[in-house]
Symmetry: C2
Subunit: 156 residues, 2 copies
């Protein structure tokens, strides 16, 4: 499933520097998101330094993964909604207006984390994505991202 | 104001590895939080790689700072509520149950970010902290952390 081009691979170069998901950020997490039917999926193996207390992942990483998987899913969903390929122009790129994370249980540090996103709402410039994060098949966190489309003038 | 020992300087060594705020995490952000009257404050200068799109800070960093300033403030507030010094035993340490971030405007990458926390609710094992993040005097994000006290057995 997680083969071929990820959503983030279609971001134009000048929008591909994000610490969480930019393919051009050599220090970043480089999260890559894909469709799995109607859901979006991504995975990430935390680094040893992504610790909270011994044995567990720090919450900020989980929030970051949810954030970037959410904006990536929002972009992909917007293309799909417009019945367009992500390779086409103009490029659609989303940023986060609001992020909510509920930490259901401590997330073990070691196993790969699996993210699964579901598009809850899609409008002209706003997409809402619900995301779960699981480790070894157990859901550790649930989040929600309200993503808004970047205007042509980027952040202006 | 931001002198002397930070809240996080009182965390026992085995709880001082957090990527966001652990003084023993050499790869981490090492956020340090202090009282400023009834409020808690912290500051952090994002690194160049903490970019979202050119010129702006990625949202995951802001979520991480809010998260760690929230749990730090929760711990300090719990000591204060018990009329105890943070140097005393037993150590009180909080983890995040829920995190909410509203991104009000793009956060410029470059200036130091200032965090200000207000304790909204304090109970036996749960503390709620509202936090604002500003850059150059302008509020860029607002967040809320629901923090719960770690049991003696850590995450068990």
């Amino acid at each position: 499933m997680k083969t071929g081009k990820a959503f983030q691979d279609f971001y134009p170069d000048h929008l591909a520097h994000c610490y969480g998901c930019g393919r051009l950020n050599e220090h970043g997490l480089r999260l890559r998101s894909f469709w799995d039917g109607e859901d979006s999926i991504a995975s990430f193996t935390p680094r040893p330094e992504h610790i909270a207390v011994p044995g567990y992942v720090y919450g900020g990483l989980i929030a970051s993964l949810i954030d970037c998987h959410g904006t990536g899913t929002a972009a992909a969903a917007a293309y799909r909604h417009q019945n367009r390929s992500m390779a086409g122009e103009p490029a659609l790129r989303f940023v986060t207006a609001a992020l909510q994370v509920d930490y259901l249980r401590p997330t073990p540090l070691g196993p790969e984390l699996d993210l699964r996103g579901k598009v809850e709402e899609i409008g002209e410039r706003k997409v809402v994505v619900a995301i779960s994060v699981s480790a070894a098949g157990e859901t550790c966190a649930r989040g929600r991202v309200v993503a808004v489309m970047l205007a042509d003038g980027l952040m202006d």
